[in-house]
């Protein structure tokens, strides 16, 4: 297994190296450079040239790339041109915020998905079914951008019980942090919850129609016990598979939600860095995302190798 890992590592590093080069070049190919952004409104060419020299952007591209790579190897992601701080600190802080939002929405997604799915098989009357179906459809089709502003209008303006936007970490102040998290996490969770609810409902309907469920019923087991003890555990595995896929959707969706709720996460940082051509920050964010992909790919390969000896021996 170690041998297999050692065999796979060079190609993983190769991908990272290639990605770093491509990211570096593409950013320089896009019109606009950091010196022009740092020169403010109505700048003179002299000011732009002075800033460019100051940042070392007047050096040959390969020399700039070499410096960045050498710093990377030492674990130094550089300093943000615009914000001024260490890129590693900035990335760590913003990633933490995005993960906080994603984790919160995952909890909501799972809770709501299960609740709506279970209600889908337990609510029998026509009105209830129509209502559940409407909630599901609305959650699925209304873009988070729209539902976000609707919730803000209701819970921050018309009935001000929650803040309209901003961020206080739940780790710093759980009570206040939870209130800041509530709306963005809920909005982000809604489409995923609707998807999960469908899988839960389908899974439950199928499980409740199985012989063991009918037998239990004929033996007089309480319907609630049949649902929770027998049907739900059998309906959950496919739901968990879908939930795994939804995590990616949640992280992607977080970028939009961060803008709506002024949540200072990775998405907002990337957007700001691209707009301002803050090369060290964009490079770090993009390379980080590539690294995540490479690691996940590597872990997947390792899992396959673990399961199937032909892979690691082949």
């Amino acid at each position: 297994m170690t041998k297999y890992l050692l065999r796979r590592l060079p190609s993983a590093f190769g991908v990272l190296l290639l990605a770093s080069f491509v990211i570096f070049l593409i950013l320089r190919a896009v019109p606009g450079d950091p010196a022009e952004q740092l020169a403010g409104n109505d700048p003179s060419q002299e000011a732009v040239d002075a800033i460019r020299r100051n940042l070392g952007l007047d050096r040959p591209l390969l020399a700039q790339y070499g410096t960045w790579l050498a710093d990377l190897v030492r674990g130094d992601l550089g300093t943000s041109y615009m914000i001024g701080g260490s890129v590693s600190d900035l990335l760590g802080q913003r990633l933490g915020n995005t993960l906080e939002l994603t984790a919160g929405s995952l909890v909501f997604s799972l809770t709501l998905g299960l609740a709506l799915g279970i209600a889908g098989v337990t609510v029998k009357n026509r009105f209830g079914q129509t209502l559940l179906s409407a909630i599901n459809s609305v959650s699925l089709i209304v873009p988070p951008y729209v539902s976000g502003f609707l919730l803000v209008f209701v819970f921050a303006i018309a009935w001000p019980v929650l803040p309209a936007g901003g961020h206080v970490s739940v780790f710093d102040d759980p009570q206040i942090g939870f209130q800041y998290l509530l709306m963005p996490a809920l909005v982000l969770a809604l489409p995923s919850a609707a998807v999960l609810a469908r899988y839960v409902k389908d899974g439950l309907q199928q499980a409740l129609g199985e012989d063991y469920a009918r037998t239990a019923k004929s033996l007089g087991v309480a319907p609630r016990r049949i649902l929770w003890r027998h049907a739900l555990p059998n309906a959950l595995p496919p739901v968990l598979t879908v939930l795994g896929m939804q995590i990616g959707v949640l992280i992607g969706g977080a970028v939009i939600i961060e803008a709506v709720f002024a949540w200072p996460g990775l998405g907002l940082l990337a957007e700001q860095a691209v707009t301002e051509r803050d090369y060290p920050v964009i490079q770090a964010v993009l390379l980080f995302l590539v690294a995540v992909f490479v690691v996940v790919q590597l872990l997947t390969d390792l899992a396959y190798a673990l399961i199937d000896p032909r892979v690691r021996l082949g």
Binding site: Q45, V123, P163, A164, Q272, T275
Partner: protein, 524 residues
């Protein structure tokens, strides 16, 4: 369809779920984030200044420390931490700030300042003449990219007489010297490099910089040793970043913040007639919207075609539809407080498509097809200009540019035949526009417009001893006239600088460069 055991949801289950929800909400409500944001100050009788509380400000842009010495979107907040040497009143007459008095030499080539005694930086170090020397020399450095660098560069020598008195010698007289002192913040010279990286911001201003969480917030506390007695009223200021206009407005409507900075006239439409909120409109510092003309693109070298474009544009419609009715239509760049403003110049090019067509015919320009660049973040004006030009037979192709790309092409003189944009620097002495705003720069501008007559007028307007004297005013009129005649920059709307606030926020002022002055601000 398999037979499903009956699992009807009972009323009890519904009640239990509702109860759990209520408990959840109640537990979340033990300590309310909304209450924490609601300012405890206020509630006094209207018009009575009340001490205490933290002012919550919402801003659409974050602090960019590297831009500390330039005018930029966040410089609205620079006056919280820093002071300037002097501050203009509404008639552009300088008033004391860190300088308590001054004497300008009769020939305009030197100025002697007496500084306030007993002023200290937030670090505790006394403010002295050497800090003024440093501030001016600092602005001379190209890497600081201060728009008034040309004026700072005119200061050729300093004589420091005492810690509170110094004389500045100038290479030649300039009419906008006090524009420089309105613009130039006095920073602690010992920590300036830490200031441009956002680590330390040390000034003499009413508030002390405490923390900055990039992308989220900045906080400031009251400076107990501020040189203005009994000021400021607030105990602190908290600035929160809301990158989207809708989010910023929502934060204001929910009273999470008391002042929203950076919203446009269109953004604030929902609260315009709501008496819980007030729109504070400043007629300076908002800049102006214009159509730039690249005169190197045939046949735009013919000024009659540029004038035709100016007549063809319905400026009032742009004010109403693109800016929500704030600002005013004007052919000239000057706000009403400018010494160069006159109603005649503002109305020089009324909306007159027939006259525009006649000018085009006179210039022999038929079937024009020109690219029209615009900022992708502000498409409305570009689209309206396109429509208006089509009415006189000029076809345009819209060319969106993101801000960074626009900036590159603006500086590199590679903008297309026509473009829409915004410029600043018309709110102070008129010569500042021509020496500090790139679209108007007589030596090099985005329009590639060059004319010895223009250069002579700009230099004459700039090199005046008395900026408010009759000779200077005549030069400003000449400057205005040449801009209106040549139309390489076609001004459309002089924009209003807007602050949307809760109606109980009083005493907010700003300087000519849009920096918020909260010395006298309080919640009534």
């Amino acid at each position: 369809m398999p037979a499903v055991p009956s699992l009807d949801t009972s009323r009890r289950t519904v009640l239990r779920a509702a109860g759990a929800g209520a408990v959840l909400l109640a537990s979340a409500g033990c300590k309310s984030a909304v209450d924490e944001n609601t300012n405890p100050a206020g509630g006094g009788s209207s018009g009575t200044p009340k001490r205490g509380g933290t002012l919550q400000i919402g801003s659409m842009v974050d602090f960019t420390p590297a831009l500390l010495f330039t005018q930029n979107s966040f410089s609205v907040l620079s006056r919280l931490v820093f002071n300037t040497l002097t501050a203009y009143d509404r008639n552009l007459v300088p008033q004391p700030q860190l300088a308590k008095s001054w004497q300008v030499a009769p020939d305009g080539t030197s100025v002697t300042f007496q500084l306030r005694e007993n002023v200290r930086f937030h670090s505790g170090r006394p403010f002295t003449s050497e800090d003024v020397v440093f501030a001016i020399n600092n602005l001379k450095e190209a890497k600081r990219s201060a728009q008034l660098r040309a004026t700072a560069a005119v200061v050729s020598d300093f004589t420091v007489t005492s810690p509170t008195e110094l004389t500045l010698r100038l290479a030649h007289p300039v009419s906008n010297l006090f524009d420089l002192f309105e613009f130039m913040i006095i920073t602690d010279r010992e920590t300036v490099e830490e200031a441009v990286t956002g680590k330390k911001l040390i000034g003499t201003g009413p508030f002390v910089f405490k923390t900055w969480t990039p992308g989220a917030s900045l906080s400031f506390s009251r400076n107990p040793e501020y040189f203005v007695p009994e000021r400021p009223y607030f105990d602190g200021v908290e600035v929160r970043i809301f990158p989207q206009a809708e989010s910023l407005l929502s934060a204001l409507r929910s009273k999470q913040i008391q002042l929203a900075s950076g919203l446009s006239g269109r953004d604030i439409a929902p609260i315009k007639s709501d008496n819980q909120f007030a729109i504070q409109e400043f007629d300076t510092g908002g800049g102006a919207t214009y159509v730039g003309v690249n005169v190197s693109v045939p046949p735009l070298q013919d000024k009659r075609i540029r004038q035709a474009i100016s007549y063809a544009i319905n400026r009032r419609r742009i004010v109403e539809q693109a800016f929500g009715g704030y600002g005013f239509a004007s052919s000239a760049p000057w706000p009403k407080s400018s010494p160069a403003y006159s109603e005649a110049t503002a109305k020089r090019y009324p909306y007159d498509p027939a006259r525009a067509k006649a000018l085009l015919a006179e210039a022999g320009a038929t079937s024009l097809d020109l690219p029209l660049g615009f900022l992708s973040t502000a498409p409305a004006v570009g689209q309206m200009v396109q429509f208006d030009l089509e009415q006189i037979g000029i076809k345009t192709t819209l060319e969106p540019m993101e801000p960074a790309q626009f900036q590159t092409r603006l500086i590199g003189q590679t903008l297309p035949a026509l473009w829409t944009g915004q410029h600043g620097f018309a709110q102070v002495h008129p010569s500042t526009l021509a020496v500090s705003a790139y679209p108007f720069n007589e030596a090099k501008n985005s329009s590639k417009f060059s004319d010895p007559g223009y250069t002579e007028i700009v230099q004459r307007a700039w090199r005046q001893v008395d900026p408010n004297g009759p000779v200077a005013k005549a030069a400003y009129q000449d400057l205005s006239e040449v801009l209106l005649d040549q139309q390489f920059v076609i001004d459309l709307v002089v924009l209003a600088n807007l602050h949307a606030t809760t109606s109980n926020l009083q005493g907010v002022a700003q300087n000519e460069f849009s920096a918020l002055d909260l010395d006298n601000a309080y919640l009534a």
